[in-house]
């Protein structure tokens, strides 16, 4: 009897301690804590990502799951001039917009870093283009770019610089530059404010030392500010390139890819083919074709950063 009671007590104790041990087990706890985030990301991100690649190998249409057709969609795209035009447009859009955003953003960050009255308010105001939803500011640009009633045409005409109205969104190259301008306008605050945050971490004693050594403003920027800012520049520009490359909203509101596909980006073309045209497989192939470009952008900045750190002799981290 006593033995049985004792063993019962022991087994309860064992069970309890197993439970407590499990409760304090890091791996077990970590699993539970990670569960909600993991569930979202697996169900709505990882699974669709895989499905998208799979769809690009099928002839799926809206309302009909497709059958495997191998590389047919890609062969089809290879001979498709509109697809190559969209690749060209996307690269042009990304390269021009990112370079200008970086240039003006860095310049604006340096200006905002100066001593001046109402600095806090000015900084807050600069960010407004970034907070207002892109679609809503794109609509303002749509009106500014109107063929007949554009305020820009009006001003230039009254200054005597042009004779007729500019057809901002109706002409191939005009439309390209107009959409690129709108993208730059929206992206500058992000670049400027993030670089400003980076600038503020640079210790003022470095500037003082450089000034005492007789460095001029350009030399200080080139040899003190810029090298210290490089890591943050790499991160900001990776994001900037990524967002510009996959932009959809601005183009969709301003031109929907027109005139004659001159402003189609890969994202807008895949929307048009897949959702409006119903060719899910082909659209998926276009968006899958974006992945190598994105990977290249990420790797480029990653290795850029690594090289910097290696140069500075920081092997850890």
């Amino acid at each position: 009897m006593a033995n049985i009671a004792l063993s019962q007590v022991q087994s309860t104790a064992a069970r309890a301690s197993a439970w407590t041990r499990l409760k304090s087990n890091r791996n077990w706890l970590g699993l539970w804590f990670m569960l909600p985030a993991a569930a979202f990301l697996i169900l709505f991100l990882a699974y669709p990502l895989g499905l998208g690649v799979w769809l690009s190998f099928t002839d799926a249409k809206i309302g009909r799951s497709g059958i495997f057709v191998g590389l047919e969609n890609y062969e089809w795209l290879w001979d498709d001039n509109v697809f190559w035009l969209s690749v060209f447009n996307t690269l042009l859009y990304t390269v021009v917009a990112s370079v200008v955003k970086f240039g003006i953003g860095l310049y604006l960050a340096l200006l905002l870093n100066e001593r001046m009255p109402f600095k806090a308010i000015i900084r807050a105001v600069v960010l407004i283009p970034f907070i207002v939803p892109t679609v809503l500011s794109a609509i303002a640009f749509w009106w500014i770019y109107d063929a007949q009633f554009s305020i820009v045409s009006w001003t230039l005409r009254h200054l005597g610089l042009i004779d007729g109205n500019i057809n901002f969104l109706g002409d191939t190259w005009n439309a390209r530059w107009s959409t690129i301008f709108a993208n730059i306008w929206r992206g500058i605050p992000f670049v400027a404010i993030t670089l400003l945050a980076g600038l503020q971490t640079v210790s003022p004693s470095l500037y003082e030392a450089a000034t005492i050594d007789g460095a001029n403003r350009w030399q200080i920027f080139r040899h003190v500010t810029f090298p210290l800012l490089t890591p943050i520049i790499a991160v900001v520009m990776t994001f900037s390139v990524l967002f510009t490359f996959t932009d959809f909203q601005l183009i969709w509101v301003l031109t929907r890819g027109g005139p004659v596909n001159a402003t189609h980006l890969m994202a807008t073309l895949s929307y048009q083919r897949a959702i409006i045209g119903g060719q899910l497989g082909e659209g998926a192939a276009i968006s899958t074709a974006m992945i190598p470009f994105l990977l290249a952008a990420i790797l480029l900045s990653w290795f850029g950063l690594q090289r910097r750190k290696w140069q500075q002799g920081e092997t850890n981290d």
Binding site: G30, A37, E114, M116, I131, S137, A140, I188, P204
Partner: protein
Amino acid sequence: MTETFASKLVRPGRALKAEALADHSEGMAYLQTLPRRLVTLYLPLGLILIVLLFPFYWMALTAIKPDDQLLDMDRVSPFWTWTPTFKHIYKLLFETQYPLWLWNTMFIAVAATFLSIVASVLAAYAIVRIRFKGAPYAGILIFLAYLVPPSILFIPLSSVVFQYGLFDTPFALILTYPTILIPFSTWLLMGYFKTIPFELEECALIDGASRWQILLKIVLPLAVPGLISAFIFCFTLCWNEFIYALTFLSSTPNKTVPVAIVNEFVDGDIYRWGSLMAGALVGSLPLVILYAFFVEHYVAAMTGAVKE
């Protein structure tokens, strides 16, 4: 920054000290003369500010201009109006489904943000503090998820949403937006949690608190600024999202503001510019007001996501 500004008005001495502490980047600026600063600083800054703000001025002006002045640029200067009208805004709020669209956007944004923040708090805490096996990899995977853009996912997601029976319901967006928001806010909160001293948690553990109690009673109260940052930024991202809303919603009453404005105002009405601009203006206001109260948090969130 705003705090410094306010205290400057009240107590100059303290403000000067605060200024000296907060503002350590002017370098040798005091050596420059005013005319030089006018040309190198104020002029370019002014020009950039005008370009950045002009579209909003134009949006607001168009929204309150009478229709005849919009299309007649010869007799009246287009840059100003002496006869503002609230007709467009009135029409927008009382004769269209705009309030419904605003409500949809708000509801979806709040729900998706709430779900994302709960999931992110748990994930960030697990990665930073529980440090289970594989935590660093989980951190990297979450960061990689941030780099997957919606423009690649919307096609397969549309068929997933259809399979799950969510098509044309707010849940299609409430459940898909977290894939954009969770990576961002987890990354942000990981940074915040790292700054909370570990000793506080150790003491609580010794006192017999469970992980759950530690999280709720010690870590979260200390991470409130981070939570606000994450909330503001997630909310803004939701409000801004377009491609999922365009793809997963089809009937007019279910739409969100950006999609509805683009699709419902564009055709039919000849004098559509006034209502379009009014729609864009009213749709931007909630975010701008929220932003005005939480600028600091917003900026912290934006730069926090970029910092390593």
